[in-house]
């Protein structure tokens, strides 16, 4: 059987590509080694967000007194939260299976091996495809720390399968994943210690935002040690040093969240002569094409923008190019979100990135607490909205927010960046009142 498109990996790149290609009338083969939906649906975004919502609800129940809601005997039932998580995941997977069936996408489960001439072998059967899309995702890295193979050490996949809350948790790595889990477990009463090797958590974020995130999480049972070098993990504690001074963090469980690595092994990429880049990912151009004609790659396996929505967009770009529509990636306008409480949502350039590109910029920032809706709903919670503007053209270059559910309004900023709106045009946009989104309009009053 010969296919128009053979897709390896059914995560947010693979199933989106399959759906879109199916809509375009292509004959599609989708191969998945584990479960439909990939890490996002099964081991990442979806389960972690379900549990984060559980933690948020618990937190609101505990702290309702500001709003006059007095509740006693509030308990967190991890088992029930997990059941909800499983239900959401099962529902989503069924949804994807339905989408594939409707578009007559051939779905095969098993490990795929690629061969010259764009051949795909699954469970001994070989298939041919005019185009191959590799979107095998990424896996958590395991740094060489003594004791890292202990039973109490988990990665982001393992921690989502816990059936009981740990008594205490040490998180190695204060990046996005580490902060989200720290927020989740801290909010439900687990003492959490985050060990970050760099001077600030979430180093890709604007430092003002990272500072606020750290102080907000500190109110949720999370202790941070910055510049921390992890030396050894044992059964109930983690030894680390800050400025060569040894310290110990107590942790019944240890989460290692030090990054993810592209899944490129055992795919036959060497036989296909597909190039890798310096990050170890499959090298792709702006159309997500590899060096081998007809072979494409999207998502985490490229080592670029490790975000589910970036993967889906890359998949779209690939299908567009296969079907003759010109399209290419614009990484600058892909938003990033940290789903902590409060949420962090950013898009575009930070001031530092803009200066690095030789742009002359000015910035404006405004605390979320000036916003009526935010003040009403998030008493005592810090938040910030910051914009980066190019001098001269007054073009918006970046929007950086922390506070409430700002992930839900970042798309507005994405639209502004995609259409290259300037201060002058944004000034004429009407924002509904009262909403937290008004900060995006109001922040411009602070731009010099």
């Amino acid at each position: 059987m010969k296919y128009d498109l053979g897709i390896i990996g059914a995560g947010p790149a693979g199933y989106v590509a399959a759906k879109k290609a199916g809509d375009e009338g292509l004959k599609v083969l989708l191969v998945e080694g584990k479960k439909l939906g990939g890490v996002c649906l099964n081991e990442g975004c979806v389960p972690s967000k379900t549990l984060l919502q559980a933690a948020k609800t618990y937190h609101h129940a505990l702290h309702g007194e500001t709003f006059g809601v007095e509740v006693s005997d509030v308990r967190f039932n991890f088992e029930k939260a997990n059941a909800h998580k499983t239900k959401v995941m099962d529902g989503m997977r069924e949804g994807i299976a339905g989408l594939m069936k409707k578009r007559k996408v051939e779905v095969l489960f098993g490990e795929a091996t690629l061969g010259e001439g764009r051949k795909i072998t699954v469970e001994g059967d070989t298939h041919e495809a005019d185009n191959i899309l590799i979107c095998t995702g990424s896996s958590p890295t395991r740094p060489p720390i003594p004791g890292i193979d202990g039973d109490n050490v988990l990665d982001s996949t393992g921690i989502l399968q816990l059936e009981q809350l740990p008594k205490s948790l040490v998180v190695v790595g204060g990046g996005v994943i580490g902060c989200e889990f720290a927020c989740l477990f801290g909010s439900v009463g687990v003492p959490v210690t985050v060990l970050e090797a760099l001077p600030e958590i979430c180093p890709t974020l604007d430092s003002d935002l990272a500072k606020i995130l750290r102080s907000e999480l500190a109110n949720k049972n999370v202790t941070f040690h910055l510049g921390a070098k992890v030396e050894e993990i044992s059964q109930s504690e983690v030894k680390f040093s800050v400025n060569n001074e040894s310290q110990v963090a107590q942790g019944e469980r240890v989460l290692v969240a030090t990054g993810r690595r592209p899944n490129v092994a055992n795919l036959g990429l060497e036989e296909l002569r597909v190039d890798y880049d310096e990050r170890g990912g499959i090298q792709v151009d702006e159309r997500c094409a590899t060096n081998v004609p007809g072979v494409w790659a999207a998502g985490d396996v490229t080592g670029r923008a490790q975000l589910a929505h970036a993967a889906s967009r890359m998949a779209e770009v690939v299908v567009h190019n296969i079907t003759g529509r010109k399209d290419h990636m614009r990484y600058d306008t892909i938003p990033s979100v940290v789903y902590t409480s409060p949420e962090v949502a950013v898009v575009g350039l930070t001031k530092e990135q803009a200066i690095e590109r030789g742009l002359k910029v000015t910035t404006g920032k405004i605390p979320m607490s000036v916003n009526a809706r935010y003040l009403a709903e998030h008493p005592g919670e810090r938040g910030l909205c910051k914009v980066v503007i190019e001098e001269g053209t007054r073009r918006l270059l970046g929007v950086h927010m922390i506070g409430g559910a700002c992930s839900e309004m970042i798309f507005g900023a994405v639209t502004m960046l995609e259409t290259e709106l300037r201060e002058e045009e944004i000034d004429e946009i009407v924002f509904p009142h009262p909403t937290a989104s008004e900060v995006i309009k109001d922040v411009f009053m602070t731009v010099r």
């Binding site: 010109k326 614009r330 053209t393 073009r395 995609e418 259409t419 290259e420 709106l421 300037r422 045009e425």
Partner: protein
């Protein structure tokens, strides 16, 4: 009282100048003598200096415009002053005539006061259909910029549709950049669904992977003149090589005589020019202008010398050289070349030649086909020195430094044989330079 700065008359033959580049903008404070703009005649460029002190009130022309001499170029005065009386009268686009007239009226009939250059492809003469006009307005397209496909080039709806389809949507910043800097979007931008982003905007007419600049000023004039030359003359090139031993020996002797003292350093080109002038005197057929219905043969030689300058090829003319000594000729050529390189050459020094000399020898060229500078009837090209076998005294073969001359003639004015005789005479003159009795061929050139 606002004062106009006028386009100076830069020479008797100069009727208009191209405004190549503005050096000031409205609102700028200028003093008398300040450089306001760079202007170009058909041969050279000059600074336009302010004749008044004050604020620049209005620029009446755009870069690239052909401005007639003595026309007002800009106004200087006090801020807020009215300059409407000073604005020069320019040719304006004629309103579209009734579409029933299928034959476009001759633009000559309207005798434009000022020729406005760089006009768009517009087809205002054939008009724009009302439907096309409305669609153009809605699409933000200037219908004048569209080549119409209707009767007599009338712009009709489908032309506007095609123009609209060929241009991408612009992002807000790209649109601002188009308005403020005149940049244009590519056929497809890098933004949403091909939207043109600010970074995609390019100079009008840009070509990917190439630096594109408009053909204007001296480049444009060279292009026009070269094309005119090849289109209107019957060019025919003859090559002949001469033994340069005589002129090399003479040059060495001159140098030794001069020692370290100042005075002109005689070059091979000077010696060739001198021999050329001596020979031309004997061949008036070659020292001529072909004027279509008449041929003018000159008694005096006005020698054009091709000069490579940063702005392009220039051909300054050294006038009345027949009686000049080698030394005077050498000094004269050097001064002309210097003034071309410095941009101080006067427009009148760039016209009126009867014969042109061009030399690519120093660039390693053996021989080439020079292009005639009309209405001149001939041009001589000089190649580089190369060692060639020549017969020695006792019949053995020896080598000598040789130079190839390339003579292009306008066959309308001169035939091949007289041209060949001229070249032969020139070769003899050079090989026997300085010679006491050159010109034995005199009298044969008119056959």
């Amino acid at each position: 009282m606002a004062t106009p700065v006028i386009m100076p008359r830069l020479g008797q033959s100069v009727e208009d100048c191209i405004l190549a580049e503005w050096k000031v903008a409205p609102g700028a404070a200028v003093e008398e003598g300040a450089v306001l703009a760079v202007i170009e005649t058909d041969k050279a460029s000059f600074d336009l200096e302010s004749t008044a002190t004050g604020t620049v009130l209005e620029l009446f022309w755009e870069e690239g415009d052909d401005v007639p001499v003595l026309a007002n170029v800009l106004a200087v005065g006090e801020e807020g002053e009215d300059v409407s009386d000073l604005r020069p009268q320019k040719e304006t686009a004629t309103p579209a005539p009734a579409p029933e007239k299928s034959q476009a009226p001759s633009s000559d009939a309207l005798a434009p006061v000022v020729p406005v250059s760089a006009s768009p492809v517009g087809s205002s003469e054939a008009g724009v259909s009302p439907r096309a006009g409305k669609l153009a307005l809605r699409s933000g397209i200037d219908p004048e910029s569209i080549q119409g496909t209707g009767p007599s080039g009338r712009v009709i709806e489908r032309d506007v549709e095609a123009a609209a389809a060929g241009r991408p949507r612009l992002s807000a910043s790209a649109a601002a950049s188009a308005r403020e800097t005149g940049l244009e979007p590519p056929a497809r931008g890098k933004g949403l669904a091909g939207m043109a982003l600010a970074g995609d905007m390019q100079q009008p007419g840009a070509i990917e992977g190439a630096q594109v600049e408009p053909v204007k000023g001296i480049r444009k004039l060279i292009a026009e003149r070269m094309m005119e030359s090849l289109a209107n003359t019957a060019q025919f090139t003859l090559n002949s090589t001469f033994d340069a031993t005589a002129i090399q020996t003479y040059r060495k002797r001159k140098r030794e005589e001069a020692g370290d003292a100042s005075g002109p350093k005689i070059t091979l080109n000077d010696l060739i020019a001198h021999a050329l002038i001596l020979t031309l005197k004997r061949h008036p057929d070659l020292n001529a202008h072909f004027l279509g219905d008449r041929i003018a043969r000159f008694e005096e030689v006005h020698l054009g010398v091709a000069v490579d300058t940063p702005r392009g090829l220039m051909v300054p003319v050294l006038r009345s050289v027949c009686s000049k000594s080698l030394e005077d000729l050498s000094v004269g050529i050097k001064e002309l070349v210097k003034s071309c390189l410095e941009g101080t050459v006067l427009p009148d020094q760039l016209s009126g030649g009867t014969f042109t000399l061009t030399n690519l020898g120093m660039l390693g060229i053996d021989h080439f086909t020079p292009v005639i500078n009309p209405p001149e009837a001939a041009i001589l090209g000089v190649g580089g020195i190369s060692l060639r076998p020549v017969p020695g005294k006792d019949g053995e073969v020896t080598t000598a430094e040789c130079i190839t001359l390339s003579l292009t003639i306008d066959h309308q004015a001169v035939d091949g044989a007289p041209a060949a005789r001229f070249l032969k005479d020139l070769v003899d003159t050079l090989e026997n330079y300085p010679g006491e009795d050159v010109g034995q061929n005199n009298g044969e050139e008119t056959t």
